[in-house]
Amino acid sequence: MLTQSENSQFQTVPSESRIPLRVKNLKKRFGRLDVLKGISMTAQSGDVISILGSSGSGKSTFLRCLNLLEEPTDGEIWIAGRHVKARGRLGSPREVNALRAKLGMVFQHFNLWSCKTVLENIIEAPIHVLGIAKQEACLRAEELLLKVGLADKRHDYPAHLSGGQQQRAAIARALAMEPEILLFDEPTSALDPELVGEVLKVIRSLADEGRTMLIVTHELAFARQVSNHVVFFHQGQVEEEGHPDELFRRPTSPRFKQFLSAQIGEGCP
């Protein structure tokens, strides 16, 4: 695990193609607003990286830049060893879609297709993007539904599910593409407090499987338990990072200290 801040010159990159994710000096500007001011990050296989930060610090934008839902202003991205974003140039639409298929994104507001059942939501992309036969896609979807504990909801529409169930369905949908990396964009922020646990449980089981994941979250206790690396964003930059035990016990940056005490003040452990 290594995550480098903007100016570090030496990038140790052993066997490039095995690294699921490498980001170098990623910048994003909205008009005059610098949202990301040069983020570099590397995720090795099996890494679970939690990204913390107060709102407006660029956490979500960073995730959205990784699968090019936002076009980065500058910087470079490698996914599974493939160079997808060269300096100032985006790949062709075909390349962009191929990249996105490798990244599983879980959204804050689930974003399930409301006119499709849970099962249809899950098999849609495998059938039409990966070209898997419907029967096989259904079989795999059933396995995923078991994994997220929604086997009895396969024929329900998203509107009939609770928020926690919807988010678990959305996780199953992302998993169905067998992505190299899972990106979680505040997966529990839109949920009622009593539903948070069931979603975190699923995410934790995925971490235990050794999946590579990036999690933007406000659940500090969860981040501490599940991740092997924590990154704290502040105003579009990596303010502090390290192993969670180290970081939470002995935060060095005053802003991270402030962030932690504010969160704990709100009743989070």
């Binding site: 839902l69 075909r94 006119c115 039409h128 994994k147 009895d152 329900d156 949908r173």
Partner: protein
């Protein structure tokens, strides 16, 4: 009021109704066929298309259908190159003039109705499709169009009903559709009251059918919004009971 006369004229009026139905259904079908690509281009990020299509819908929605009909029927014949072209064989027929005008007019309204539906598709659902690597055409076909059409359906049903009634304007360019036939019978019988009431009843019946069909389509398409039926669910639950208990072992 002469009830016998009202019944007597019904078969004659029904003949006119056939032409009305033809004109309405054909122009609605052609209109929809034109409107789908136009609505997609209208909501596309390319301003050249969206501006050009806006001009088209503005012209057709901003002028009376009757004027458009006269322009095509009387106006086209005054232009030399149209008269000498192949299109003239169609444009000198009142039926084709009416069909072309109605189709273009209906397409303009339908374009704007569909545009509203497409724009109301939740952006999160489109983003989810993007994030899963679905290419543009696939997103349109599988996610955006089905959802957009659902949202546009009530307004579209209204537009079809309006088209049915607007087709009565075809009587002004000699077409003997329902209204034209009614006027002819009135001229022969001098009983406008009975004949027009009969005609109105036929329009009402046709409208009822359209509204009913769209209503059924709407309920079918809105099943994702209905509450799940408990009976249905318990059946499902029974069927999947074994799997659920297994799932609890796998993912507690």
């Amino acid at each position: 009021m002469n009830l016998a006369l009202m019944v007597d004229v019904l078969p004659l009026l029904c003949e006119g109704m056939l032409l009305t139905a033809q004109l309405t259904l054909a122009s609605v079908a052609i209109g929809l066929f034109i409107a789908v690509p136009l609505a997609l281009l209208r909501t596309s990020p390319w301003p050249v298309f969206s501006h050009a299509i806006f001009l088209y819908t503005f012209l057709f929605r901003g002028t009376p259908l009757l004027v458009q009909l006269f322009l095509v029927y009387y106006g086209a014949g005054q232009v030399e190159w149209i008269r000498s072209s192949v299109a003239w064989s169609m444009l000198r027929e009142p039926f084709w003039c009416a069909l072309i005008t109605f189709s273009l007019n209906n397409a303009a309204y339908t374009t704007e109705i569909l545009r509203g539906g497409l724009r109301a598709v939740p952006s999160g659902e489109v983003e989810a499709a993007k994030a899963l690597g679905m290419p543009y055409a696939l997103r349109i076909r599988r996610i955006i169009l089905p959802a957009g059409f659902r949202l546009a359906l009530p307004a579209y049903a209204n537009e079809v009903v309006l088209m049915l009634k607007a087709s009565s304007l075809a009587s002004t360019i000699t077409l003997m559709e329902l209204t034209g036939t009614a006027r002819k019978i009135v001229a022969q019988t001098f009983s406008p009251y009975e004949v027009f009431i009969s005609a109105a009843l036929i329009y009402l019946g046709f409208t009822f059918v359209i509204v009913h069909l769209f209503g059924r389509l709407e309920t079918r398409m809105a099943k994702h919004q209905k509450r799940a039926e408990p009976g249905n669910n318990s059946q499902l639950r029974a069927r999947t009971a074994g799997i659920i208990s297994a799932s609890q072992k796998v993912a507690p």
